[in-house]
């Protein structure tokens, strides 16, 4: 299933992509043989805005990012960043990329400032910029502390500061909120949104969907190293299912029959309630999801509901539906 990309925010024209990946493959050698991590992945990240890169743990997100950054070699496929073939021409475009891959990794016995100063020297950025980015991420006061004494949130912030050193056009955040408290998560989300609003492209990989839904303009969902869906968040949600209502009633079997006859799509939920949505009806044709209509149909037949809760489809439900095989595979202990 692939939703059509329809930009929600300021988006580039459809030919402008920050990242374009075609047919990407990577298998790791393990004792049990070759384990496929990325299996012919296609990915397009529009320039500008926040792009969510979603998939369950082990679906190939980090491997893909590492291949983009030249840290590991792809077995096959083509990758471009701002039109430059990578990894062949990565040095030509690396100054436009800032990335955090998985856990931040700096020298533990050096201070946060020292770590950034080393990076700044290596990439030719002024020492003043180090102070600026430390201020930006709110780490200036603890900058002299040793990195190993930092909390996970502080380490993440230092990594973001490192990624911002070059004032890059593309920021890649791999699971940036892992281990953060709610305030930290909110901060990171605001940072990503702010960067995107300033014209940057932010690629954020995550398996925490609510986070991404709040901040992303477009998303790609992958599973077992393959693209499952991509596009504008709204399009993905629409493609994933229509609005529905949860109906609690004393006689769900009879109520389901009546609502189906009235043109609603009805299914039973495990807790005995009904999921009712607008659907292709029989007899009277498709019915819109109007709570008043549902109430009337049931009341006319002497059935009185005790719960009627409207429910919008969210990214999580779409994601779970798309990656259901992955989760089943994981619970069965199948290799990914």
């Amino acid at each position: 299933m692939t939703a059509v990309v329809g930009p929600r925010r300021a988006m580039p024209n459809t030919t402008t992509y920050a990242i374009e990946i075609t047919g990407l493959r990577k298998a790791y050698r393990t004792r049990k043989g070759r384990q496929l991590a990325v299996a012919g992945l296609d990915l397009k990240v529009p320039a500008g805005g926040v792009h969510g890169f979603l998939g369950p743990n082990g679906s190939g997100k980090t491997t893909t990012i590492r291949m983009l950054l030249g840290l590991i070699r792809a077995d096959a496929g083509d990758m471009q960043v701002f039109g430059y073939e990578v990894p062949q021409r990565l040095p030509a475009v690396i100054d436009r990329i800032g990335a955090i891959v998985e856990q931040p990794r700096f020298f533990p016995t050096f201070s946060g400032r020292k770590n950034l100063q080393l990076l700044a020297t290596g990439i030719g950025v002024s020492a003043a910029r180090v102070g600026q980015v430390l201020d930006e991420v709110g780490l200036a006061e603890r900058a002299k502390g040793k990195y190993r004494t930092y909390s996970l949130g502080m380490k993440q912030r230092l990594a973001i500061a490192g990624a911002l050193l070059k004032d890059p056009d593309l920021l890649i955040f791999d699971e940036p909120t892992n281990g953060l408290d709610p305030a930290g998560i909110h901060e990171i989300r605001a940072t990503m949104r702010g960067l995107a609003d300033a014209g940057k492209t932010v690629l954020v990989s995550s398996h925490i969907l609510t986070e991404v839904q709040q901040v992303a303009d477009t998303v790609s969902i992958i599973g077992r190293g393959r693209l499952l869906a991509e596009g504008n968040v709204e399009d993905i949600l629409e493609a994933g299912g229509s609005e529905s209502a949860r109906v609690g009633i004393g006689d769900p079997t009879r109520a389901a029959t009546l609502l189906a006859e009235a043109g609603f799509a009805v299914s039973s939920l495990p807790d005995g309630t009904l999921k009712v949505s607008s659907g292709v009806g029989t007899g009277q044709g498709a019915a819109d999801l109007d709570p008043a209509h549902i109430t009337r149909v049931l009341a006319d037949h002497g059935l009185y509901l005790f719960e009627l809760t409207p429910a919008r489809p969210d990214l999580e439900s779409v994601f779970l539906e798309l990656t259901a095989d992955e989760h089943l595979g994981a619970t069965r202990g199948e290799p990914r």
């Binding site: 840290l71 891959v101 700096f106």
Partner: protein, 321 residues
Amino acid sequence: MTRLLAAEINRLRSRRFTLIALLAVLLVLAIFQIQVNSDVSPPSAAAVAANEAQYERDLKEWEEHHEEWEQQCVDSGVPREQCEGPAPNRQDYGLEPVPFAQIAQIGMTLAICLTGLAMFLVAASFIGAEFTTGAIANWLSFLPRRGQVYAAKLVTVVGFSLLVSACASAFVLGMAVLLTWVHGGEVTSLRPWLALSGRGLSVAGGLAVIGFCVGLMTRHTAAALGVLLGYLFIWVLRTGVLSQLGWAQRLTPWAAEANLAAIVGNGHTYGIPVRRLTEGGVSIEYVERTVSLMHGAVYWAALLAGMILAALLVFRHRDVT
């Protein structure tokens, strides 16, 4: 490349391990100067008298008994030529100050060996820590030209090793000159020691390269240290347990440490055991052979080139996770 070098130099000099290694080298060399001071000082009249008396006693005892001792040795089945015990040597009894040349030789050799070992560890730790902390992945995500990154790191550790070795040699030689002069001894020509110091630089640089390459390929300082200890074990086995086996000693020209000794000592002499049947039984004679300085230099040049190339290939092609 200049920026990369600046960053690597900055990191190397900021590392705690570097500081500890430097302090350890300095401490050992400083303690050694106490012994040097004692050796180059003229002994007191009382010490000379006591040592002279001891020498006379030992000489007299040897003259009276050495034939008897040798016969006992031969009777126990040992070939006669191996039972001959030399007469006591007057120079071994501390009756005169140790000459400058001997002090310089011992001091310089100590400085070269010590700095070589320290630089092996510093270099292995410098690169090994990047892999164990995972910081190398972060570094390469900013600086993807792996060839340049590799070159900058290697040049940094080699340059640092040369500097430390030069300082250590200068310190030891300077102290030997100073203490000999202070105690009224004669300071002979410095030329051979300056040449030795130059060869010492190449030893420190070479061992730093080996440490760096092994640290990179094993991705851990401890693993690099393990490789070093493993090699020392083989060396002890070959020159100790297997010292009387001809085939083990014929490997000497291909052993890294023998070629290193040839560089330090301007040639390295070793013996190959040959068994002969004599009237008294089987006797073992040692045929003297030499590993020349040129052999050592070519051997180490080839070894270093091979290590640098192998480590570069690994660094360029290995996935960094």
